[in-house]
């Protein structure tokens, strides 16, 4: 296929646009960033942007996809470091909490995302990312009989929402102490889902 010059250039331009847009959106918020700033930072013009994307919202969507993919990868890495399904769940949750506390992630993924793309779209994108790992981990535990029999979807949404909000709070006023307190409380919630009532280590 020759790795055509055109395809390479196209990909470089796209990378530049997404990269700079991501930085600007994260720093100032979607509404405060003009396309003029983005194309200037990427050293291209609006023509290039509209050749690659359908518009500002579509550019944001590409940025969000990248951010969510990275968070999902962090969650997956943390989970795959363990064999025990329960540890996979807790390690994944902790990794999500850590990754989502990054301000560069938050504004894009948790604040602007739903408002720009609509909640339904945001939801489906989220479930293609880290939320899928959560649902899968819960399903595996339910199948293994570790969790009390119950519908998974409502549980996954409750936990996902809890972690999203906690991450925002931690980034806003969070100390290391707050992170540990959140984790203790969240661990307690997770433990309460188990069939055995014994509390496993919180840390």
């Amino acid at each position: 296929m020759a790795a055509t010059t055109r395809a390479l250039q196209r990909e470089r331009t796209r990378r530049a646009l997404v990269g700079h847009a991501r930085r600007l959106f994260a720093e100032h918020g979607y509404a405060e960033v003009g396309l003029a700033q983005v194309v200037a930072a990427a050293s291209v013009t609006k023509g290039a942007l509209y050749h690659q994307f359908d518009g500002k919202a579509d550019l944001f969507r590409a940025v969000l996809e990248e951010v969510q993919a990275e968070v999902a990868a962090a969650v997956a890495d943390a989970a795959e470091a363990h064999d025990d399904p329960w540890l996979r769940l807790t390690a994944g949750c902790r990794a999500f909490l850590t990754a989502s506390t990054d301000p560069r992630v938050q504004r894009i993924m948790l604040v602007d995302g739903p408002a720009i793309l609509g909640w339904d779209t945001w939801r489906s994108m989220d479930e293609a990312g880290s939320a899928r790992h959560l649902a899968e981990a819960l399903t595996a535990l339910a199948d293994a009989g570790v969790l009390r029999p119950q519908p998974i979807a409502p549980l996954a949404h409750l936990l996902s929402g809890a972690m999203n909000e906690a991450a925002l709070w931690l980034a806003s006023s969070g100390t290391d102490r707050d992170l540990e307190d959140v984790w203790t409380a969240l661990s307690g919630m997770l433990d309460s889902l188990r069939t055995d009532t014994a509390t496993r280590g919180g840390r």
Copy 2:
């Protein structure tokens, strides 16, 4: 005091603007609604709007305050119907879930709010509303020894986030069955916070 003609007229105009803006914002979303539509619906002009508000975002803030006040009132009403602190908590949570499932509330309070005003501002407004009732209920239970000793703030944020997300999910694809499943799962989480491990009735 005399209830001046001017003050009355001013208040009527403000009411009209907030009321119609609320309906339009809820129906189409903040970004899709122009100020021209709002002032036309309220039968005034942009001059009136900018005389009463600092701009579009400030108008939205007034709308959000009204919505949050109503939700908070619903929560407070439900809680005050009970004397037992635990029932006050659960009834308040259930009321919040019900009220927040209304699409007219969601888009303004849960989706657009944080993005338009910024998460910090949205958070402080939320804590002046229903989130305050949640924190107070939890504090009362902790003081009474019903809850295991633990920091309240992280817990309140986890629960608040869980309910926000659950409400959005319920409105999006929710049946009555889903509502009950969410409530069962949430009740389980709340129960797990108690000193006694006995599970009280979920309904």
